[in-house]
């Protein structure tokens, strides 16, 4: 990561790190996956062009909002878009292609436990472990390419979930075309069964948990012993794999005669424990981020870098978005862009403050100055000046009157 000596200002890095060996490994496996899966997908398009097109349209309807949702999960720092897209592509092409290559593990289960056991349990045992390892390896490679971008559990969750989303997208299209007949009617049925009834969380959650484990393992290197980090990361990965195994297992399966209205509820119950677990884990990770922001900015509030009102707005993603929207309405698009930049630099101020040893560090002073200059520039735009800190006041009128 390019960083001036003594000026530890956060600079987002991109995927393209040709000096990192992991970058070339990532590119090689991704290239292999693209070629392998493109051939498979093009061959499936011969079944029905309209069904194939419909498959992608339906999947896009599901995947785009989920991508945005995952991408925005991190409260204070959006991951570099090249890394987010790379994570998605790893899941979509590299992990799916390698998972097809790993189909031989079903034969191992059959050899070890017999064909009849393998017919019932083989897919659950092999797919859950091989697919999650292949997807998780993508997150590890991303970390090895740009270690600075996986800085906590939430970063790991975001990258893992994006890998899982990419995997789900291509796997669903394969299923629509190969298992549901590929005709428009078959694709619609497949979309109902695999996405609406059961696919809204699956791979995203499993790999999100594994990413969380990776995030914890690499970000707590300085603070936790190796054994504990391994235990936590292994535990989260085990929960992700177990969730996948349970989902693929023949346990609690609804029969083929189950009503199309009943089946989704039964499937939802099967996935409920994992959904609750992930929601709890994400909530805890976000609370942790908030506590980090509070601690990092404690000595900066009221200074040049951030005012108390700006701080209250900064803590809440909702208030931040609202402040930007209000600014756009009152002072125009460029003022809104400047406010977003100010908020981003104030998050960077927190990062710098948490890394330097002294409040007089030149890098910290420079970051305060940057925030101040942005605020001054904003104040100079007609109609913009009062808006910087008003949103928090508007949302907490009682506090304002009480003061």
């Amino acid at each position: 990561m390019p960083r001036d000596a003594g000026v530890p200002t956060r600079i987002h890095t991109s995927l393209f790190q040709p000096r990192q060996p992991a970058f070339w490994v990532f590119v090689a496996f991704l290239g292999y996956g693209v070629v392998r899966m493109a051939n498979a997908l093009v061959a499936l398009s011969q079944i029905s062009r309209s069904g194939w097109t419909l498959s992608w349209l339906l999947i896009a309807l599901y995947a785009l909002p989920v991508f945005v949702l995952i991408y925005r999960l991190d409260l204070y720092e959006r991951e570099p878009i090249s890394l987010a897209v790379a994570a998605f592509l790893w899941g979509a092409f590299a992990a799916t292609a390698l998972a097809l290559d790993a189909a031989g593990w079903d034969r191992v289960v059959a050899q070890a436990f017999g064909q009849d056991f393998a017919l019932r349990w083989g897919p659950a045992l092999t797919a859950s472990s091989t697919e999650e390892i292949l997807k998780g390896a993508g997150v590890v490679l991303l970390y090895l390419i740009v270690p600075d971008e996986i800085e906590d559990m939430m970063d790991g969750f975001v990258y893992g979930a994006l890998v899982g989303l990419g995997f789900a997208v291509v796997e669903d299209v394969l299923y629509f075309m190969a298992a549901f007949g590929g005709t428009p009617a078959g694709v619609l049925q497949g979309f109902y069964v695999r996405v609406l009834s059961s696919g809204l969380y699956g791979h995203v959650l499993y790999t999100g948990l594994i990413g969380m484990g990776i995030g914890y393992f690499v970000s707590e290197r300085e603070h936790e012993p190796f054994g504990k980090r391994l235990l936590v990361a292994g535990g989260l990965a085990a929960v992700g794999i177990a969730g996948h195994l349970l989902w693929d297992s023949p346990l609690f399966n609804v029969g083929s005669d189950a009503s199309v209205l009943v089946a989704p509820f039964v499937l939802a119950l099967k996935a409920l424990p994992l959904v609750v677990f992930v929601a709890l884990a994400v909530r805890l990770a976000r609370e942790r981020e908030r506590r980090w922001l509070d601690a990092a900015l404690a000595s900066e509030i009221g200074g040049d870098g951030i005012s108390p009102e700006e701080y209250r707005t900064l803590r809440s993603p909702h208030l931040r978005r609202r402040a930007v929207a209000d600014m756009r309405r009152r002072a125009g698009r460029s003022a809104a862009g400047l406010l977003k930049r100010l908020q981003r630099e104030q998050v960077n101020l927190a990062m710098v403050a948490s890394r330097v040893a002294s409040p007089d560090d030149p890098g910290l002073a420079r970051q305060r100055g940057l925030c101040r200059s942005l605020r001054d520039a904003l104040d100079a735009i007609p109609g913009a000046a009062p808006a910087v800190g008003q949103d928090a006041v508007a949302v907490h009128p009682g506090e304002d009157r009480g003061g």
Binding site: A22, A110, G114, Q115, T130, R355
Partner: protein, 186 residues
Amino acid sequence: MRSQATPPPTSAGRRWLAVLVVVAVLLFVAGGADAIAHAIAGPPIQIAGVTLHPQAGWKVQRRGDEGSLHRVVLARGSGALDVTVIDAYPGTADGLARQYQDSVLAGQLDQLSVGDPEAGALNDGTPTVRYGYIGITHDGVAVEGVVTTAVGPEGTGVVFDGYAPKGGLASVVGGLASMIDQTEVR
């Protein structure tokens, strides 16, 4: 987002090692299954010109030769696979299937009912004929089974008769089909 100070950068050597470990894991997961499956598979069984690959849990129960007929019976639980190999069989798989029905099944089972034969092939490409049947043994046990016949390129005829007490075939049919499909016939 980092909660404390930045950890020291990982050394180049450790970074390389980590990358190599990831590559090894990817290659093992994607391609290691065949080696493991081969390592844990039981030894193949040779019967005249036929090579059988028993699945886990299937044990040889009986084995014998009588002139040009060679026979081995594998069993697992209540299921069985009776394999008969015929040296230099002059006919086709279809003829062998009919002959087995008339001369063996009809003699062993009462109330024999046979399904329509279906053409297929073993994994090595040898054409097969397959049909299902149900019947009652002379001591009153209802059985169901699947007969598969094949004649190899060098004229080796083989009959696979997989059966189980009525209701029990479903629990072994996967293993039967897999063993039959993997058989090599000369």
